[in-house]
C-alpha cells in the first residue's frame, strides 16, 4: 500500500529553502539599509550643526566690537542638538554601543557639544548673561549607572519645558581626548550620574524639582512662560 502516499518532491522543498534563505537575507539587507540611512541622516544633521557652529563662531569673531544681540545663536539650536541626542541614543540601543559608525557619530556629537558650550560661554560672558547650562556625565555600561536612564528622562523633560537650558551630555567612558579634558577641567569623579551646574558638581540622581532648586532662574522662566501662554490665550480669545 506504500505507493499510495505522496512522495516528497525534493525540488519543491529545495525551492522553499532557497526562497526562505532569500527572504531571510533580504530582511537582513533591508534592515542594514535602514540603519545606514539613519546613520547618514544623523551625519547630515551633525554636519549642519557643525556648519551652524562655525557660522556662529565666525559671526562672533566679526562682531566682537558691536552689540551682542546681533549674534544668532538661538535656542532652536539647542533643540536640534537634543533631538539629535534622542536619535543617537536610539541607534546606540539598536546597533549596540560597539558599532563603529555609532561610536564615531557619538564622538562627533560630543565635540559639537563642547564647541557649542565654549561659544555659548563666550557669548554669555560678553553680554553678561548668567549661563543656563547643565553638563551631564552618564554611562551606558551594564550595572555601572542604574540611575542614568532616569536622569536622562528628567533632563529631557527639563529641556522640553525650558528650551533655554542647554544640556550637554557626555558618555563618561567615551574614548575621546576632548571629553577626557572636559572631565578633568570640571574635576568630575566616577560617581554617576554627575551634573555640573554653574561650575558646581552634583553627584547622584536629581529629580526635576531638585534641579529647579539648584537653578533658581528656572522659576523665573516658568513664570515668564506662563505669562506668555496666558497672553497668547487672551489674544486668540479676543480674535474670536
Amino acid at each position: 500500500m506504500k505507493h499510495i502516499r505522496e512522495k516528497i518532491e525534493t525540488k519543491k522543498y529545495v525551492l522553499a529553502f532557497v526562497i526562505t534563505v532569500m527572504v531571510f537575507f533580504g530582511a537582513l539587507l533591508i534592515s542594514n539599509h535602514f540603519s545606514e540611512t539613519r546613520i547618514a541622516e544623523i551625519r547630515a544633521v551633525e554636519d549642519k550643526i557643525s556648519l551652524d557652529i562655525l557660522s556662529s563662531e565666525t559671526q562672533f569673531a566679526l562682531l566682537k566690537e558691536s552689540s551682542c544681540k546681533a549674534i544668532d545663536h538661538s535656542t532652536a539650536f539647542s533643540e536640534e542638538l537634543s533631538s539629535l541626542a534622542a536619535k543617537l541614543s536610539y541607534m546606540e540601543n539598536n546597533l549596540g554601543d560597539s558599532d563603529a559608525a555609532v561610536t564615531n557619530l557619538k564622538k562627533y556629537y560630543s565635540l559639537l557639544q563642547i564647541k557649542d558650550y565654549l561659544l555659548t560661554a563666550q557669548v554669555n560672558q560678553k553680554c553678561g548673561i548668567k549661563p543656563l547650562t547643565i553638563i551631564y556625565f552618564y554611562s551606558n555600561k551594564d550595572g555601572e549607572c542604574m540611575d542614568c536612564r532616569k536622569e536622562g528622562y528628567v533632563l529631557t523633560k527639563l529641556r522640553e519645558e525650558f528650551p533655554e537650558i542647554r544640556v550637554y551630555s557626555f558618555d563618561y567612558n567615551l574614548d575621546l581626548s576632548a571629553v577626557k579634558t572636559m572631565k578633568s577641567i570640571q574635576g568630575v569623579q566616577n560617581k554617576l550620574p554627575a551634573l555640573i551646574i554653574s561650575d558646581e558638581p552634583y553627584y547622584g540622581f536629581k529629580t526635576a524639582e531638585e534641579l529647579e532648586k539648584i537653578i533658581p532662574q528656572l522659576k523665573k522662566l516658568r513664570l515668564e512662560h506662563e505669562r506668555a501662554a496666558k497672553a497668547a490665550a487672551t489674544a486668540t480669545s479676543t480674535k474670536k
Partner: protein, 413 residues
C-alpha cells in the same frame, strides 16, 4: 555573549518557521485551482451507505439539535442511518432522544459509561455501512457536508478517510472569536497538508471512514484522551490516505471561558505530544513522507519552539514595560509619551522578520477565511487571534510540557 547565544537559537527557529510558511504557501499555489468553495449541484453517480454515530454523555441540551442537523442532510434517506449512543448519561439525555425512537433512520443505543471512544466503537461494531463517521453532540453539520464527502470518496477510491472543514459555531465571547480565526487558520493548514498526505488527526466532528479501515487496523483505543489523533496516526502508519474535504462544513461549539479552553487545549496538546511520542518511529522517516518529516516533528517540537519564541517576546515586552514604568514614575505620564517620527520605527533585522511573519500569517489567515466562508473578510477575531493567542496559548502549552515530562494524564472535562 549570553544574549547572542539566545538570539542565535531564535534565528534558527525563525528560519524554520519561515521555511514552513513558505512550504505552505507554495502548496497553496499548487493547489489554488482546487480550492473553490462552490458545492456540487448535480446528483452523485453512486451513494455509498453511511452510518453516523452520535456518542453522547450528558448532552441533553444539544443532542436534539445535532441529530436534527443530521436529518436535514442532503443525502438519500435509505442510504443514511444515525446511531445515537448514550454512553451512560446521568442527565436527561436518554429521555430527550426518545422523540427519535420511531424514526426510521435513527437507532438508539444505551450502554454503560466507558468513554467516548467506547461509544463510537460500539456503533462501528453495529454498523454494516460502507462509510462510517461520527458527530460529537456539540457539533452540527451543513446540509451538503455528507454529499461533498461522498463525492470525494467516489472520486478517489484510495481515500480511506475524509476530514471536514471545522467552523466555530456562533462565536460570542472574545475567546470564541479568537478561536474562530484559529480554526480558519487551521482549516487552511489542514487543507494544505491534505494533498501531502500529512494530516495527523481525524477530528471527532464528522470525520468519515471507509468501513474497511476498521477491519484492517481495528477500532479506536484509549490514547491519552485524544483517540482521534491516535487513530489518524495508526492509519498513517499503515499508509492509509486521509484527505480533507474543505467544502464539507461542520459547525462546532467552542469553549467560552478561559478555564474551559485551558482544559480542552491541555487535553489536546498533551494528547498530541504523547501520541506523537507513541508513533515516533515515523518521525524523520522519508517513507512516511511529509507527515514524518514535517507534521510529526512539528506537533512535538513545535510546542517547544512556540514557548521559546514566546519567552523571548515576553522577556523583551516585560523589559519595555519596566522601562516605560520607570520613565512615567520619573517624569510623569505626559512626558513619557513617545514622539511620533519615522526615524523611530523599528527596522531591526528581528523586527523586519516579524513584519514578514505577520504578513505571511495574515495571508494564511485570510485564505483560511476564504476557504471557510467563500470570501475574504476582516473580522475582530483576526485582531483577537493576533494579540491574544500568544498570551493565552503558553498557559496550556507549559502545563502540557510539564505533564508530558512527568507523564501526568489529563481528563476529558
Amino acid at each position: 555573549m549570553v544574549e547572542t547565544f539566545f538570539d542565535s537559537i531564535l534565528y534558527v527557529f525563525l528560519f524554520f518557521t519561515l521555511y514552513l510558511e513558505v512550504v505552505f504557501l507554495i502548496t497553496f499555489f499548487e493547489e489554488r485551482l482546487k480550492l473553490g468553495t462552490e458545492k456540487l449541484k448535480e446528483k452523485l453517480s453512486y451513494y455509498p451507505s453511511v452510518t453516523i454515530i452520535v456518542p453522547c454523555w450528558n448532552e441533553e441540551k444539544t443532542v436534539v439539535k445535532t441529530v436534527d442537523s443530521l436529518l436535514r442532510l442532503n443525502y438519500p434517506k435509505n442510504k443514511l442511518e444515525i446511531f445515537v449512543i448514550d454512553d451512560g448519561s446521568t442527565d436527561q439525555t436518554w429521555d430527550v432522544v426518545q422523540k427519535f425512537s420511531k424514526h426510521p433512520q435513527i437507532k438508539l443505543f444505551r450502554k454503560e459509561n466507558g468513554g467516548k471512544h467506547t461509544a463510537v466503537n460500539f456503533g462501528i461494531e453495529n454498523s454494516e455501512a460502507e462509510l462510517i463517521g461520527c458527530l460529537d453532540a456539540d457539533s452540527f453539520v451543513d446540509k451538503d457536508a455528507l454529499h461533498e464527502i461522498a463525492a470525494a470518496f467516489n472520486e478517489d477510491p484510495k481515500m480511506m478517510a475524509a476530514t471536514p472543514m471545522l467552523v466555530v459555531h456562533e462565536p460570542k465571547t472574545i475567546l470564541q472569536k479568537m478561536q474562530k480565526t484559529e480554526y480558519h487558520m487551521g482549516a487552511f493548514l489542514k487543507r494544505m497538508l491534505s494533498p501531502l498526505d500529512a494530516i495527523n488527526v481525524t477530528p471527532g466532528p464528522f470525520s468519515i471512514f471507509r468501513h474497511e479501515v476498521f477491519e484492517k487496523i481495528g477500532l479506536y483505543k484509549k490514547a491519552h484522551n485524544t483517540e482521534d489523533g491516535e487513530f489518524a496516526l495508526r492509519m498513517q502508519a499503515n499508509h492509509m490516505r486521509i484527505r480533507n474535504v474543505h467544502t464539507a462544513q461542520v459547525y462546532t461549539s467552542t469553549p467560552n471561558t478561559l478555564y474551559k479552553l485551558y482544559r480542552q487545549r491541555l487535553r489536546w496538546s498533551y494528547g498530541t505530544m504523547k501520541n506523537t511520542l507513541d508513533y515516533r518511529f515515523m518521525m524523520f522517516r522519508r517513507e512516511y513522507g511529509i507527515l514524518g518529516m514535517i507534521t510529526l516533528p512539528l506537533s512535538f517540537f513545535g510546542v517547544f519552539i512556540f514557548l521559546y519564541n514566546f519567552s523571548f517576546v515576553a522577556f523583551h515586552a516585560v523589559k519595555v514595560v519596566i522601562e516605560k514604568a520607570i520613565e512615567i514614575s520619573t517624569v510623569g505620564f505626559m512626558f513619557a509619551i513617545p514622539k511620533a517620527s519615522l526615524f523611530f520605527i523599528n527596522t531591526d533585522f528581528m523586527a523586519i522578520l516579524s513584519y514578514i511573519f505577520l504578513g505571511l500569517g495574515l495571508v494564511i489567515i485570510l485564505n483560511g477565511v476564504k476557504l471557510a466562508e467563500g470570501r475574504v473578510s476582516a473580522s475582530s477575531g483576526i485582531f483577537y487571534f493576533l494579540f491574544l493567542y500568544g498570551i493565552v496559548a503558553p498557559i496550556w502549552f507549559i502545563r502540557a510540557v510539564i505533564n508530558v515530562i512527568f507523564s501526568r494524564g489529563t481528563s476529558w472535562r
